[in-house]
C-alpha cells in the first residue's frame, strides 16, 4: 500500500539517549538475498528497564491531517515462518487480534507472529487533527521483557515500539525495533538442565500464557511478579548444586576408538571458558584432526510438527594428527569472543546449545558426539 500512497505523515521514533546506548549488530535476513549480509544496529535494553523516547510526527506538505488518536505501544512477539506457524491453531486464536498490525515491512515478512507476549500501549493524543509537526514523549516504565530477542532461522523473538496514527481510512503506523538481553545474575547459574528442564518449560508455558492473557490489559506488574517468582524459584535449586560437576562422557566405536570426553561443567555463561580434556583409551582410527564445535539448535513448533534447525556457532580445532592410547588432549575454548545465543525456551520454540566433538579421520569420515550444554548471559 505504502508503495502507492505516500502516507501524509512521517513518523519518527527516537529512544532516549539512543546514540549513547549499547548497540548490537544483527544481521538482517531479508527476503532479498543480496541484503543478506547487511547488518542492522539496534539499541540494547534489558529486562525491567524503562523504555522512553520521543515520537515526532511530521505532516507532509503542511496539510492538515485528521486522526482518531495517536497510540504508542511496545510489543514483544514470537514470530515463526508461515509454513510452520500456520500449524499451531491454538496460538493463532490468541494472537489473531494483533497479528494484522505487525504486517509492516520492518519485521521479517516471512514470519508470522504466533504469540504476542508483550503488548502495552497508551494514547499519546486524543483524536484531532495535525497541522504541523509535533513531538510526543513516551515512556514505558520498568518494562518487563520476558524473552530475549532472538533471530533464528525459523523463529524470531522481536521487540519493537509501534506508533499508530489512527484514521478513518488506513491507519498510519511506524515501528522501531530494539534488542533485549536478559542477564542472569552473576551469582546464580540456571538450574541444571536435566533436572529442571521440564519444570522450567512448564513454568515458561504457564508464564507465557499468563503474559499473553494480560497483554491486552496493560498490566505489567503481574508479569514482572511472575518473572521474579520464576527467578526465586530457580535460586534455591541452583544454589544447592553450586559446585559444578564435571561432565564425563565415554565415547567409542567398538574396537576402533574409545575416548573419554570430559569438561568441567554443563552450564556456562557466555563469557566463560569451556575447559576440558579428551582422554584416549583406544585409537585404531587414523585421525586427521579433531574439532570441537558449538551447535545452536533451534526447535520450533509444537511437538506434533516440530522443526529443528542446527547452526554451528563455533568450529574449533583441538587436535592435529592422530593420538594414541593414553594421551590427553586439553580443551580450552573461550566463549566470549563469539556471538552466541543463550539457551531459551518457551512453548513455541526453544534454543539449545550442544557441544559437539567431531573426529575426522584420514579418509574424511566424520565421527561426532554431541552433548548438551546450557549457555546463559551474565552481565
Amino acid at each position: 500500500m505504502s508503495i502507492f500512497f505516500k502516507p501524509p505523515i512521517d513518523i519518527e521514533i527516537l529512544f532516549d539517549n539512543e546514540e549513547s546506548r549499547k548497540h548490537v549488530d544483527i544481521a538482517t535476513r531479508s527476503s532479498n538475498s543480496s541484503y543478506k549480509s547487511m547488518k542492522e544496529s539496534l539499541p540494547v535494553y534489558e529486562d525491567g528497564e524503562s523504555l522512553g523516547g520521543i515520537v515526532t510526527l511530521r505532516v507532509r506538505d503542511s496539510k492538515k491531517v485528521d486522526h482518531l488518536g495517536i497510540k504508542v505501544s511496545v510489543i514483544g512477539s514470537i514470530d515463526m515462518l508461515k509454513s510452520h506457524g500456520s500449524g499451531n491453531s491454538s496460538s493463532k486464536k490468541v494472537t489473531s487480534s494483533t497479528s494484522s498490525s505487525s504486517s509492516n515491512g520492518s519485521v521479517d515478512v516471512r514470519k508470522n507472529s504466533v504469540d504476542q507476549f508483550l503488548c502495552q500501549s497508551y494514547d499519546l493524543c486524543p483524536a484531532g487533527e495535525l497541522q504541523h509537526s509535533q513531538s510526543f514523549p513516551f515512556l514505558f516504565r520498568d518494562l518487563s521483557k520476558r524473552y530475549e530477542s532472538y533471530k533464528g532461522k525459523n523463529v524470531d523473538v522481536a521487540y519493537y515500539v509501534k506508533v499508530t496514527v489512527m484514521r478513518k481510512s488506513t491507519d498510519i503506523s511506524k515501528i522501531k525495533r530494539f534488542w533485549v538481553y536478559l542477564y542472569n545474575s552473576v551469582t546464580t547459574a540456571p538450574n541444571t538442565l536435566s533436572a529442571n528442564e521440564t519444570k522450567a518449560t512448564t513454568n515458561d508455558i504457564a508464564g507465557g500464557n499468563y503474559a499473553a492473557d494480560n497483554a491486552s490489559d496493560n498490566t505489567q506488574t503481574k508479569s514482572t511478579q511472575g518473572e521474579a517468582g520464576d527467578v526465586n524459584q530457580v535460586l534455591p535449586i541452583s544454589r544447592s548444586n553450586n559446585e559444578p560437576k564435571p561432565v564425563r562422557l565415554d565415547i567409542g566405536i567398538e574396537n576402533c576408538l574409545h575416548i573419554e570426553f570430559e569438561y568441567a561443567k554443563s552450564q556456562y555463561s557466555l563469557k566463560e571458558v569451556i575447559v576440558g580434556r579428551i582422554y584416549f583409551l583406544l585409537t585404531r582410527l587414523r585421525i586427521k584432526h579433531m574439532e570441537l564445535s558449538l551447535i545452536t539448535r533451534e526447535s520450533s513448533g509444537l511437538q506434533t510438527s516440530n522443526v529443528m534447525t542446527d547452526s554451528t556457532a563455533i568450529r574449533y580445532e583441538i587436535m592435529d594428527g592422530s593420538s594414541v592410547k593414553g594421551e590427553t588432549i586439553p580443551i580450552r575454548l573461550f566463549l566470549s569472543g563469539y556471538d552466541l545465543t543463550p539457551n531459551m525456551s518457551c512453548n513455541y520454540f526453544n534454543v539449545k546449545n550442544y557441544l559437539s566433538l567431531v573426529i575426522i579421520d584420514e579418509d574424511g569420515r566424520r565421527y561426532f558426539k554431541q552433548s548438551e550444554i546450557t549457555l546463559y548471559r551474565t552481565r
Binding site: I287, H289, R315, Y316, E317, I318, M319, D320, G321, S322, S323, V324, E327, T328, I329, P330, R332, F334, G337
Partner: protein, 944 residues
C-alpha cells in the same frame, strides 16, 4: 584455512605474509598483523612436507615470529597487554597456528617480571598436546623450547628441568610414533625421516644438561631416572640408540661415573635389536676422556685420585656377566664389540691389570663355546680378527715411546707381549678360531712385536720399570714361560703347511691356503713371507733375551737360559715339519752366536780364574753340547726335507765345521766336514751343483787351521780333489782340480795373526800343486771343443802365474820352462782355432779392432776379472769361473745378464763371437805378463 600446494609456493606465501605482517606492525595494526601471521602459520599445517622442507619453512617462520615477538615486547604496556593477547590468539581456529601464536605471545610475556611465569609455561606446554601429528608436534615443541630458552625462571631449577623433561618426553613419544605412521612399505622412509628429526629431540637433552650444570643430586634423583624410564618405555630401536648416545655425550662424565650402574642397567632393558655395544663404547669413551682429563689436570696424583677408588671395571664386569646371562640371544657380532669396548676401558683405567683382560677373554671364550664354534660367520670372524689383533682404533696403544713414563698409554708391543704371556684365555680363544684366521691374527701380532725394533731398544728402560729389579732371578724363568706362551700362540703359523687345510672348500677366503698347498707340493724354494717372519721372530726373541740379560749382568746364567729358550724354540718349531728349512737356519745361527758367546766366557774365565777347572769344563761341555744340538738341527732339516735342500744342509755343515775349527774343536770340525762330504756323495747329483759344492768345500777347507793334527786335513783335501777329478764334465774336472791345487798352498789369514813371510808353518806342498795343475792341463788338452780347451788352458796359465808370483820356484815347482811351454801350447792351439775360420784376414782385422776396444772393456768391466771378454758393437760376452757365459750389458756395465745357454740360444752370430773369448783372455794375460816385467825381473824370461 588452506595451505599452499608446493613447498615453493609455501615459502612465497610465508614471505608475502611476513611482509604484510611487518607493514601492519609498523602501522600498529596489531589485529591485522596477527591475522597475517595466522595465515602464514597455516603453511605449517601442510601434511605433505618432508621433514627437511618443513624445517625450511620453520626457519623462515621462526624469524618472522621473532619480529612479531620483538614488537609485542616493545609495545607491551602502552599499546596492548600481553595477557589479553594471550587470550586473544587462542581464538585462532586451527590448532597449529594457534599454538605458535600462543607460544610467541606467551614467551614475549615471559620477558616481563610481572608475568606469572610458571603458569604461562605450564599452560603452553600443556596446550601443546593438541598437536599430535609427529612432525608438526616435534617442531612445535622445538619452537617452544627455542623460545623459552632464556626465559625460564632462574630461581627454580627443578621446575625448569621438569619443564624441559616434560617437553622431551612428549617429543620422544611423537618421534617414536612417527615410525608407525603411514603405510608399511614406507617404513624405511620413516626411519630415515626420523633420523633427520632426531636432533630436535636430542636438543632437549642438551638443554637439560645446560640447566643441570653441576647439580648432581638433581641429575641422579630426578632427571636420569625419568629419562631412562622414558627411553626404556618407548621400546623403539632408533630412539633408544640415539637417546642413550646423546645421554652419554651431553652430560658430564663425572655424572656418568657415579651413575654407571644405572646406565648399564638400562641397556639391559632395551629393545633386543639395539646395538648395545655402540652405547657402551660411547660411555667408555666418555669415561676414558675423564681419565685423560684427570691426568692432564694433575698428572702426578693419579693414584690418590678419587676416581680410582671406584671399581669401574668391576661394574662393567658385573654388567657383562648379567648381560651374558640375561641375553643369551646376543650374537657374537654384538657381544665382541661390547667386550672390546670394555677392554678399551680397562686399558685406560688399569693399564697394567691383565687379570681384567684375562677375565674378559675368558668370557668371550665361554660365549664362543656356547655359541657353537661351527656357527662363526664371516662377519664375526672379522670381529675376532679385530679383537684378537687389537686393531681397534679406540685402543690407545701407541707404538711410540714419546709418551710420559707413567701415562696409561702403553706401547702396543709391550701390551701384546704382556697379554700373550699373562692371559691364558687369549690363547684359548685364538685356538678356537679357524686356521686361516689364526694365521692372520698371529701374523698381525708378530708384525706388531717386531715393529720398530730400534725403538724397542730405547724402550727397554721403561720396560724394566715394569719389573722391579729384585725379580731378576725369577725374571729369566718368567721369560721362558713367556717365550713358551708366545710360541704356543705362533703354533698355527709354525705348522701352517703341514697340517691338513681346514676348509679349502670355501674358495676365496682361503686363497693363501690353496697357494701354500700348491707350492708345498712343488717343494720349491719360493719365498714364504710367513716363515720368513717366523725366522725373524726367532732372532727377535733371542736378541731381546740377550739384551735383557746383559743388562742384569747375569751372563753366566743367561747363557744357559738362552740356550734353554733356544731349545724351547727349536722344540716348538720342529712341529713345522717341512717348514724347518725356513726356520731352522735362524735357530742354528743363534746357536752359533751362543757358541761364540760361550767361547768368550771361556776365554774370560781362562784369564781371570784359570784355576776353576769345573767351570771351564762345564763350558767346554756346553760348547760341545751345542754342537750336538746344531748337528741334530741339521739332521732334522735333512729328515724333514728329504732332498729338497741338500745344498742348504751342505752349507750349514760347512759353516759349522768352520766354526768348530775356529774354536779349535778339530774332532767336531772333522765330523761336520765328513758330514758335508756324505751329503755331497749321497745327495748331490746335479753336476753343476756338485762343482759349486766342491768349490765351497775347498774354500772352507783352505781356511781351516785346526785339522792338521791327526792328518784330518790331508785326508779331507785329498778326498776333495778326488771328487773334483771325478766330476762329469771335463771342464768342470779341470776347473775343480786346478782350484783344489790351492788346498796345498795355505795363505795368510790376518785375523788370526798370520802374515806372509813371517808365519812359517803354512801348509804348503808345491809338488802336489804342480800335480794338480798338470792333471788339469791334461784334462783341458783332452777336451774336444777347441775354444773350451784354449780357454781352460789360459785359465791354468793364470793359475800358474799366481803360484809363480807367490812362491819360489823351488817351493812351487812351477818353473819358467813350464810356463813358457804352456804359453807355446796355447799359442799353437789358438792358431789352429784361427785356421778353423775361413776368413783369417777378417779375424786379424777384428783382433786389431778388438785390441783397442777390448782394453777399454777390461777396465770398465772389472767384475769379469777371471773371464775373457769379447766385445761387439752391441754386446759383450764373457765366460765365468764355472764355465757359464755371461753377457754384459754395455749400457750400464755393472749389471750383468746371465745366459747359461747363451751360445745356443742367441743364434749363430753370438756363437761366432765365442771364439774370441779365449783369444782375448790370452791377450790380456800376455799384457799382464808384459806389465809385470817392469816390477818383477823373473817375468822377463817368460816369452809371450
Amino acid at each position: 584455512m588452506a595451505y599452499a600446494d608446493s613447498p615453493e609456493n609455501a615459502i612465497a606465501v610465508i614471505k608475502q605474509r611476513t611482509a604484510l605482517m611487518n607493514r601492519c606492525l609498523s602501522q600498529h595494526k596489531l589485529m591485522e598483523s596477527l591475522q597475517h601471521t595466522s595465515i602464514m602459520l597455516t603453511e605449517l599445517r601442510n601434511p605433505n612436507l618432508s621433514p627437511k622442507k618443513y624445517y625450511e619453512l620453520y626457519v623462515i617462520i621462526f624469524d618472522s615470529l621473532t619480529n612479531l615477538s620483538t614488537y609485542l615486547i616493545e609495545n607491551h604496556p602502552q599499546n596492548h597487554h600481553l595477557a589479553d593477547l594471550y587470550e586473544l590468539v587462542q581464538y585462532t581456529g586451527n590448532v597449529v597456528p594457534r599454538l605458535y601464536l600462543m607460544i610467541t605471545v606467551g614467551t614475549s610475556y615471559l620477558t616481563f617480571n610481572e608475568a606469572p611465569k610458571k603458569e604461562i609455561l605450564k599452560d603452553m606446554i600443556e596446550m601443546c598436546r593438541g598437536v599430535q601429528n609427529p612432525i608438526r608436534g616435534l617442531f612445535l615443541r622445538y619452537y617452544l623450547s627455542q623460545r623459552t630458552k632464556e626465559l625460564l625462571p632462574e630461581d627454580d631449577p627443578s621446575f625448569n628441568s621438569q619443564f624441559i623433561m616434560n617437553n622431551f618426553i612428549e617429543m620422544n613419544k611423537l618421534w617414536v610414533r612417527l615410525q608407525h605412521q603411514g603405510p608399511l612399505r614406507e617404513r624405511e622412509t620413516r626411519t630415515r625421516e626420523r633420523k633427520e628429526l632426531q636432533i630436535l629431540v636430542g636438543s632437549q637433552l642438551v638443554r637439560l644438561s645446560q640447566i643441570i650444570d653441576d647439580n648432581f643430586q638433581m641429575y641422579k634423583q630426578d632427571i636420569l631416572p625419568t629419562i631412562l624410564e622414558q627411553v626404556i618405555q618407548c621400546r623403539d630401536l632408533v630412539s633408544q640408540e640415539y637417546l642413550l648416545d646423546v645421554i652419554c655425550q651431553v652430560f658430564a662424565d663425572e655424572f656418568h661415573l657415579k651413575t654407571l650402574d644405572t646406565l648399564l642397567q638400562t641397556t639391559l632393558h632395551l629393545n633386543p635389536d639395539v646395538s648395545i655395544n655402540k652405547i657402551v663404547l660411547t660411555l667408555v669413551d666418555r669415561l676414558n676422556d675423564y681419565v685423560t682429563r684427570q691426568l692432564e689436570d694433575d698428572p702426578n696424583a693419579t693414584s690418590t685420585n678419587a676416581y680410582l677408588d671406584m671399581d669401574v671395571f668391576g661394574t662393567f664386569w658385573d654388567y657383562l656377566t648379567v648381560l651374558n646371562h640375561e641375553r643369551p640371544d646376543l650374537s657374537l657380532q654384538q657381544f665382541i664389540p661390547l667386550v672390546e669396548s670394555v677392554i678399551v676401558l680397562s686399558l685406560k683405567w688399569y693399564p697394567n691389570n691383565f687379570d681384567n683382560l684375562n677375565k674378559l677373554f675368558e668370557l668371550v671364550l665361554q660365549k664362543t663355546k656356547d655359541y657353537g664354534q661351527k656357527n662363526i660367520s664371516l662377519e664375526s670372524e672379522h670381529l675376532f680378527l679385530v679383537l684378537l689383533s687389537f686393531q681397534n682404533s679406540k685402543l690407545q696403544l701407541t707404538s711410540s715411546t714419546t709418551a710420559p713414563p707413567n701415562s696409561p698409554v702403553t706401547s702396543k708391543k709391550h701390551f701384546i707381549f704382556q697379554l700373550i704371556s699373562q692371559c691364558q684365555a687369549y690363547k684359548n680363544i685364538l685356538a678356537l678360531q679357524s686356521i686361516s684366521l689364526q694365521k692372520k691374527v698371529v701374523n698381525e701380532i708378530i708384525d706388531i712385536l717386531m715393529d720398530r725394533e730400534v725403538e724397542e731398544m730405547a724402550d727397554n728402560d721403561s720396560e724394566s720399570k715394569l719389573h722391579p729389579p729384585g725379580h731378576s732371578a725369577y725374571l729369566v724363568i718368567e721369560d721362558k714361560l713367556q717365550v713358551q706362551r708366545l710360541l704356543s700362540i705362533c703354533e698355527p703359523l709354525i705348522i701352517s703347511r703341514s697340517g691338513p687345510p681346514a676348509n679349502v672348500a670355501s674358495s676365496d677366503t682361503n686363497i693363501d691356503e690353496v697357494f701354500f698347498n700348491r707350492h708345498d707340493e712343488e717343494e720349491s724354494w719360493i719365498l714364504d713371507p710367513i716363515q720368513e717372519k717366523l725366522a725373524h721372530l726367532i732372532h727377535w726373541i733371542m736378541n731381546t733375551t740377550s739384551r735383557k740379560q746383559t743388562m742384569k749382568n747375569k751372563i753366566q746364567f743367561s747363557l744357559e737360559a738362552q740356550l734353554e729358550i733356544l731349545l724351547l724354540i727349536k722344540s716348538s718349531f720342529i712341529k713345522g715339519g717341512i717348514n724347518v728349512k725356513y726356520t731352522f737356519p735362524a735357530i742354528i745361527t743363534n746357536f752359533w752366536k751362543l757358541m761364540r758367546k760361550c767361547r768368550m766366557i771361556q776365554e774370560y774365565l781362562l784369564k781371570k780364574r784359570p784355576d776353576n777347572k769345573t767351570l771351564l769344563s762345564h763350558y767346554s761341555n756346553l760348547l760341545k753340547q751345542m754342537f750336538k744340538f746344531v748337528s741334530r738341527c741339521i739332521n732334522d732339516i735333512f729328515n724333514s726335507c728329504n732332498n729338497s735342500c741338500t745344498d742348504l744342509i751342505l752349507k750349514l755343515n760347512l759353516q759349522c765345521a768352520i766354526l768348530a775349527d775356529q774354536l779349535q774343536l778339530n774332532e767336531i770340525s772333522y765330523d761336520f766336514f765328513s758330514q758335508a762330504f756324505t751329503i755331497f756323495e749321497e745327495s748331490l747329483s746335479d753336476s753343476k751343483t756338485q762343482l759349486q759344492a766342491l768349490i765351497y768345500i775347498a774354500q772352507s777347507l783352505q781356511k781351516t787351521r785346526s785339522l792338521y793334527k791327526e792328518a784330518y786335513y790331508d785326508s779331507l783335501i785329498v778326498r776333495c780333489t778326488l771328487h773334483g777329478s771325478k766330476l762329469l764334465k771335463k771342464q768342470d774336472q779341470c776347473r775343480a782340480v786346478y782350484l783344489c791345487s790351492h788346498l796345498w798352498w795355505a795363505t795368510e789369514i790376518s785375523n788370526i795373526g798370520e802374515e806372509e813371510g813371517i808365519t812359517d808353518n803354512f801348509y804348503r806342498d808345491g809338488k802336489r800343486v804342480l800335480e794338480c795343475l798338470q792333471r788339469s792341463l791334461r784334462v783341458a788338452d783332452s777336451i774336444m771343443d777347441n775354444e773350451q780347451s784354449c780357454e781352460l788352458m789360459v785359465e791354468i796359465l793364470n793359475r800358474c802365474l799366481y803360484y809363480f808370483i807367490h812362491g819360489d820356484e823351488s817351493e812351487t815347482h812351477i818353473s819358467i820352462k813350464y810356463i813358457n811351454g804352456l804359453i807355446e801350447l796355447i799359442k799353437t792351439n789358438l792358431k789352429s782355432l784361427k785356421l778353423e775360420d775361413n776368413s783369417a784376414s777378417m779375424i786379424t782385422n777384428s783382433i786389431s779392432d778388438l785390441h783397442i776396444t777390448g782394453e777399454n772393456n777390461v777396465k770398465t768391466s772389472s767384475n769379469a776379472d777371471d773371464g775373457s771378454v769379447i766385445t761387439d758393437k752391441e754386446s759383450n760376452v764373457a765366460i765365468g769361473s764355472d764355465g757359464t757365459y755371461i753377457q754384459l750389458n754395455t749400457l750400464n756395465g755393472s749389471s750383468t745378464l746371465i745366459h747359461g745357454v747363451v751360445a745356443t740360444a742367441s743364434g749363430s752370430k753370438l756363437l761366432h763371437q765365442l771364439k774370441y773369448i779365449p783369444i782375448h783372455h790370452f791377450q790380456r794375460t800376455c799384457e799382464y805378463i808384459e806389465s809385470q816385467r817392469e816390477v818383477d825381473d823373473r817375468f822377463k824370461v817368460i816369452y809371450v
